[in-house]
């Protein structure tokens, strides 16, 4: 390359040339999720994630019955985060939904919308007068002509304007060469979205040179271009006739306005004390946004900082789409892995023998009476006990007055009203022990 670095440049370069950041295996976990089903080993990204969750879950739940006080916190959901790559998003989401449905708890399905990264502003300048660049040139010389004055003119009536395209300028007719109208599909767009330019001709006897005003050019007759920096762009089109070399140029100031996009970002914290719902507070960290839309696992919200309970085990996709005043959007998706079902911290065994220890059944989370609920105990399909009172647990007495059978498993279902008045279903089973 024949380039010599100065000693300062060389010393900076040398100091980092063989530098290595320390390896972080958690990043590989994340990478596997992103790689999705591409791997063909026994443990794919997804199942590896699931196993990972499983291992965490085993960490501290089985002791609940024996030692209810110390294990309450372990019973609660632990969260693990995976970043998700755009392309992997749908796959993960499908899996997450499947995972959730597989638990048999969630019976509502959110219709997920198509992921849109850059929303293009709808046509907003439909009726504004077209800018006509007038360039009066009757010479047939080959010299390049400077671009003409830009002035406001009338909408060109003779051209069919579709609802989508705006005529924004015209290359004037010269001699036998007809005028060429310039169209764009939008005059206002978001950073990163593409703008289409079209001409009223497909005559390829000329050489077309588009200058998009951001340092990029195109020789296509009908190019499309993506602007990556917000701003107002002057677009210049030069048409050079191949036969006689006549150059016609039209330059339109402020032809395209590119609006900035917001920056979506969020994190979360777990709130709620022992015995309460394991609520997750989502903290909106977005910038330059005026509107937020959340998909929180199996529910949705338009609150800025929503609070939500995710009760079922599995990988739940949290997606935040933010919009700014220009209608430009940005999206961030992350997944929360819930290590185990939140089942109201219900005991898995009771021993109704009158010794004062685990004599009755009431899920721990319902005991303080702060929530409206209806708890039903079932023997197979048969209801054997129903209560709405935290102070009235099931004591093991069957409807006929006899005691429940030893070593038998009973089902329970609780319908609980959450803080927003929505009913949530929880269920589980427990065993009668001596």
């Amino acid at each position: 390359m024949g380039k010599k670095l100065t000693p300062f440049e060389e010393s900076i370069k040398q100091s980092l040339e063989n530098h290595e950041m320390p390896y972080d295996s958690a990043r590989w976990q994340q990478m596997q999720v992103q790689l999705g089903g591409a791997g063909n080993s026994a443990v794919t990204g997804w199942s590896a994630a699931a196993i990972f969750i499983g291992v965490l879950a085993l960490g501290g739940s089985a002791w609940y019955f024996l030692n209810p006080d110390s294990s309450v916190l372990a019973q609660r959901a632990e969260l693990t985060e995976f970043a998700i790559q755009k392309g992997e998003f749908s796959a993960i989401r499908t899996k997450a939904e499947h995972f959730v449905k597989g638990e048999g708890i969630v019976d509502t399905t959110i219709q997920f919308e198509e992921v849109i990264d850059h929303a293009v502003q709808p046509d907003v300048v439909e009726t504004s007068p077209a800018l006509i660049a007038s360039q009066d040139n009757s010479s047939t010389g080959a010299d390049e002509l400077s671009s003409g004055e830009v002035e406001n003119g009338a909408v060109i009536e003779s051209v069919t304007i579709t609802s989508k395209n705006h005529v924004v300028a015209e290359i004037p007719a010269v001699g036998d060469k007809p005028a060429i109208s310039i169209f764009v599909d939008t005059r206002e767009a978001c950073v990163g979205s593409s703008v289409e330019f079209n001409l009223s001709t497909d005559d390829n006897t000329g050489v077309y040179l588009w200058n998009f005003g951001d340092g990029n050019f195109s020789n296509d007759i009908n190019p499309s271009h993506t602007f990556n920096t917000p701003g107002t762009y002057e677009i210049t089109l030069s048409v050079t006739s191949k036969d006689d070399g006549v150059i016609r140029t039209s330059s339109i100031e402020s032809m395209i306005v590119i609006n900035p996009e917001p920056d979506a970002n969020f994190d979360w914290t777990i709130v709620g004390n022992e015995g309460e719902f394991p609520e997750i507070q989502f903290n909106n960290r977005s910038q330059r946004a005026t509107k937020s839309e959340w998909i929180l696992g199996e529910t949705a919200s338009t609150e800025i900082n929503p609070l939500n309970v995710i009760q079922s085990k599995g990988l739940h996709v949290i997606e935040l789409t933010v919009t700014n005043e220009f209608g430009c959007t940005d999206r961030k998706a992350r997944a929360i892995a819930i290590n185990e079902d939140y089942a109201l911290m219900a005991p898995q065994k009771i021993s109704p023998n009158g010794d004062g220890i685990f004599d009755s059944f009431m899920p721990r989370a319902l005991m303080d009476g702060s929530m409206d609920f209806e708890l039903t105990i079932l023997d197979g399909e048969n209801k054997i006990y129903t209560t709405t009172q935290a102070t009235a647990p099931w004591t093991g007495t069957l409807p006929d007055g006899t005691m429940a059978e030893l070593n038998k498993e009973y089902m329970w279902i609780a319908i609980v009203k959450d803080r927003n008045g929505f009913e949530k279903y929880y269920s589980g089973s427990f065993e009668i022990t001596p």
Binding site: K13, M31, G87
Partner: protein, 188 residues
């Protein structure tokens, strides 16, 4: 790792072996994260670019021809990923025009030569690099680390040669200032 072992790993990745992918990932992680750190303002951004770049590496391994250094090939992907991501996201990616600065440029070069013997730890250099603005960072990276000439930089990011030169000079001046202010005393 021998060349044959590397070749086996790459072939394994192409077949979709998760174990081979992990091997390649481990092999490249440290160096490539350093590369990404140079183009960003914090470790999170660098991690994001690394992950995106690694996905591209895994997705394009069939295109690697086994000619030339594998690390170099990966590094080019990382650099391009970093540049794309910065151009896409950064509203503050504003380059100084060339007008005011050509003249300062020669002065700066002279001023710089005098302090050439400064030496800093890699972690300090990285930290200082991350404090540069995205535009300065990119020009400095392309010129010093990626061996681009000013003409090539001008072509790659659509600026003039003069702008590239003056931004490099200013990037160096800032970098030196940061290094001296933040670290010189600690290094004795």
């Amino acid at each position: 790792m021998t060349e044959d072992q590397l070749r086996e790993l790459i072939k394994g990745c192409i077949k979709g072996s998760r174990k081979s992918q992990e091997g390649i990932y481990k092999l490249l992680y440290g160096k490539m994260l350093t590369v990404c750190m140079r183009y960003t303002n914090n470790a999170d951004q660098a991690q994001d670019i690394l992950q995106e770049g690694m996905l591209k590496v895994f997705g394009n391994l069939t295109k690697y021809s086994f000619e030339g250094s594998f690390e170099g090939w990966v590094r080019r992907i990382m650099v391009n990923t970093a540049i794309d991501s910065i151009r896409k996201k950064k509203n503050d990616f504003v380059l100084l025009g060339e007008d005011q600065s050509i003249e300062d440029y020669t002065e700066l070069v002279e001023e710089e030569e005098e302090e050439a013997e400064l030496s800093f730890k890699p972690s300090q250099v990285l930290e200082a690099m991350q404090k540069l603005t995205p535009a300065y960072q990119m020009i400095f990276n392309l010129y010093v680390f990626e061996n681009y000439t000013h003409v090539e930089i001008a072509e790659k990011i659509g600026i003039s040669v003069g702008t590239s030169k003056s931004n490099l000079a200013k990037a160096k001046r800032n970098l030196r200032k940061i290094l001296i202010n933040d670290f010189k005393d600690h290094n004795g």
